[in-house]
């Protein structure tokens, strides 16, 4: 399939019509995807846009008689590098810096000016340059593109290849060194953790969110005995994202219950120990979820 995509040039150095169609379609898609990288609110979307651009590039490589590079592009870039990006995104997590709000004064205008200027200047350079008639790679590729490339890489550029190999090893070791953390404190075992928790007196842990049977109600904070919402009962991620629900509405409902509107409802007496974990309604599954979350934290 790849070889069938490869097209040859006309004598005037112009491409075939098929290639032109492929180019225009891909060019539009790639520029739009690159715009996604520039404008996407979420880092994952940006990464996915970049994946689109890279795959498009792989197609263009193949279209330009460079099938080996096209494959490498897909394998190395889209397959390895972009996956690495996604892993790091997962590790770092949601961050306030994802927003597009500009914090540096005038930076956005400077950036726009620089970007447009770059486009204009580069286009100017490209436009003013004089190219001879395009030669095409039919002769150079010979039998096949990978073979011809291999002759070059392991021939004229063998030394550069060795150097790049050393570079890769160095980079790998460097990455290990950079991300390695020396343990400064003794390892905290599960036993030590549970002992500490028993000694701290807060056996039940942090309060769980007030989970109501209305939607995925992890976003509703729990209420303390005075009816005030407890902020830390909601997951940190939800709080950072601003997806927290307003607790006052639920507090008002409880007030109504306490004032006796629901005459049949009898509230169990509050004990001193349940003060920190006074979720109005909790079931076992919620508690399990909560302890999971705590373990993660």
């Amino acid at each position: 399939m790849l070889s069938s995509l490869a097209t040859s040039l006309t004598d005037a150095g112009r491409t075939t019509t098929g290639e032109a169609i492929l180019f225009w379609v891909l060019a539009i898609v790639m520029v739009l995807a690159a715009g996604g990288l520039l404008f996407a609110r979420k880092a994952v979307h940006a990464a996915l846009s970049l994946v689109v651009v890279m795959i498009g590039l792989a197609f263009l490589y193949v279209a330009q008689d460079a099938p080996f590079l096209g494959v490498v592009q897909v394998v190395v870039y889209t397959g390895a590098i972009m996956m690495l990006f996604l892993f790091v995104l997962m590790l770092v997590g949601v961050d306030a810096s994802d927003t597009l709000t500009e914090t540096l004064r005038g930076q956005r205008w400077v950036a726009a000016l620089a970007g447009l200027g770059l486009v204009v200047v580069l286009a100017g350079v490209v436009g003013r340059a004089h190219y001879g008639p395009a030669v095409g790679l039919t002769d150079a590729n010979g039998a096949s593109n990978p073979v011809a490339l291999a002759r070059l890489v392991f021939g004229s550029y063998a030394f550069a290849l060795e150097a790049v190999g050393a570079l890769l090893i160095t980079a790998a070791i460097g990455a290990i060194m950079l991300t390695h953390r020396r343990r400064m404190t003794p390892r905290v075992t599960q036993r030590a953790r549970s002992t500490a928790r028993v000694l701290s007196g807060t056996l039940a842990g942090k309060p769980v969110p007030g989970v109501y049977a209305r939607h995925n109600a992890m976003d509703v904070p729990a209420l303390d005995p005075q009816g005030r919402p407890i902020e830390e009962s909601v997951s940190r991620v939800l709080r950072v994202r601003g997806q927290e629900a307003d607790a006052r509405e639920y507090a008002a409902r409880i007030d109504r219950v306490l004032s006796g509107d629901w005459a049949n409802t009898v509230r169990p007496p509050l004990t001193a120990t349940s003060e920190t974990s006074s979720a109005p309604a909790t079931d076992d599954s919620d508690a399990a979820e909560k302890s999971d979350e705590e373990a993660k934290a």
């Binding site: 540096l104 930076q107 950036a111 000016l113 620089a114 200027g117 770059l118 200047v121 580069l122 003013r128």
Partner: protein, 647 residues
Amino acid sequence: MLITGITTDAAWSGAALAPWLVGIPLLSAAVLLLAGRRSDRWGHWLGVLAPLASLVIGVVLLFSMLSVPGGSRTATVSLGRWIDAGTFHLDAGFRIDPLSLTFVLLVTFVGTLIHVYSVAYMEHDADRRRFFAYMNLFVAAMLLLVTASSYLLLFVGWEGVGLASYLLIGFWNHNPVYAAAAKKAFVANRIGDVGLIVAMGLLFSHVGALDFATVDAAVPHLSTGAVTAIGLMLLLAACGKSAQFPLQSWLGDAMAGPTPVSALIHAATMVTAGVYLVVRSNAIFTAAPDARLVVTIVGAISLLFGAIVGCAKDDIKKALAASTMSQIGYMMLAAGLGPVGYAFAIMHLVTHGFFKAGLFLGAGSVMHGMDDQTDMRGFGGLGRTMKITYFTVMAGWLAILGMFPLSGFWSKDPIIEAAFVPQDGQTWRAWVFGLVALLGAGITSFYMSRLFFMTFEGKRRWTTKTDGTPQHPHEAPALMTVPMVILAIGSVGLGAFLAVGDRFTRWLEPVTGPRGDGQAVLPGWLLITLSLVLVIGAAAYAWTRYAVAEVPATPPVGTLVTRAARKDLYQDVVNDAALVVPGRMLTRSLVFGDRAVVDGAVSGIAKSTVKVGDLARKVQTGHVRSYAATMTLGVVVLAVVVLLLGS
């Protein structure tokens, strides 16, 4: 210094002993200073022996010198080549002639007596050994000053006595006032020293030599202007050392030192070094009438100045210090008169050395008996309790008054008479200086009588000691009274001994030349009568005011002149306004200039650098994206430039 052995051209034997004059006290001072506390027990006796040994050498030299006729008495003793620079050669040598030998005998004789006196006077001072070390150092330096054969070696001694004076004025330097007085004396002396240095520089450039013999021989060939300049510079030096107007302000404060110091250094010897310098340079001054006139004027002013100040001082030592200044004014006046007065200047110097030292020692004895009190208003009637002191001071008092036949009469009246001799045919000078000298004699009589009567006559005005116990005035021990008695004998008889048959004048003739002839504008018998009448009248007036009448314990407000005189005629104020304040202004403006211009340039550059850096700092936001934006814009601009240039 290369010592090739002592050589001498003396026509008389014993001249080779001359270096030991200086050497023995110097050695003694070194021993006392280096041995430290170990020599505390016997150090003061070594200190007494050193000037005594010098005195013995001096006497030996005197008799040896007297054995030859006047013309061949001058001898030079060389220690060898000292400075050998190109065409300039200078020997370290001693010049022993009647003038220097006179000083040697005065310094060692009075010095020995004062050393003996000090043994008792300083008995209770923990640092008596150090005191004697400094005193010996002074004697050595003073002897070097008067025996040196060149201006340069004289300068060494000159500085030596300045150092010793500084050390001894500030001997009790734990008292900041005394330490300041020492510093003041030192600084005032330095001003005079500049004069001596400049004079030596002028001599070097005009004569090319600094030894007395060569200079004296070369002076007649010099221009009057050069000789006058040298003379004036030497006068400046003399003014500094001898506390003459206008460098007199330090002498009163110098009384901060122990009384024997005041007696030896600031009355009898060191302060007369200026007179010595003028007389020693008589060849220069004889050739420069204008410089001599200035010397006379300075002497006349100092004479009156000191006398007026002396009338108002209640501190017995400060009154004596003012008197010293006044008496040295007489000597300067005489020296300024030229050949007619050189011998009398030195003669008055010698007799003054005796009676003023005696007076100071008497004052020390009074202080000894009165718990170191110096205010004369707290004395009175002491003559009945301190008989020996009373009579010795009386001898000094009558001598300084110029009473016939005591020493002062024989030395001071010739000066007054000489002052009445017209100089260079100008009679107005004779009248002016003569009348000043005569008037000075009258004022001297008044203030010295005031001092004497306030201390020894009249009612007892003693107060309590500093510790509150009543005063018990008592006579000093024999170690103190014996020197006083010997000095009193000198005060009484020395003048007649020296003056009879012009003995002293002829003795000095090899140095000062023959005494010039001159007819005074008034006959001699009239002058003597006038001065005696004036002196007795002033003394009688003082008797009525300070012996018969009550002396108030607190000084009355007094007239304008009295108040000015108490403040030393505002000499400190004038010095302050004329020198200290402008000097301070100059240094301030220099400091300001330094800060504004020099520092301003330096720190201006630094500040502008900082400001530029501050501006540049704003560019450095620390944000990677700003840097990246700058880089990108730079690339764009570069590319645009390349594109435009490439077309």
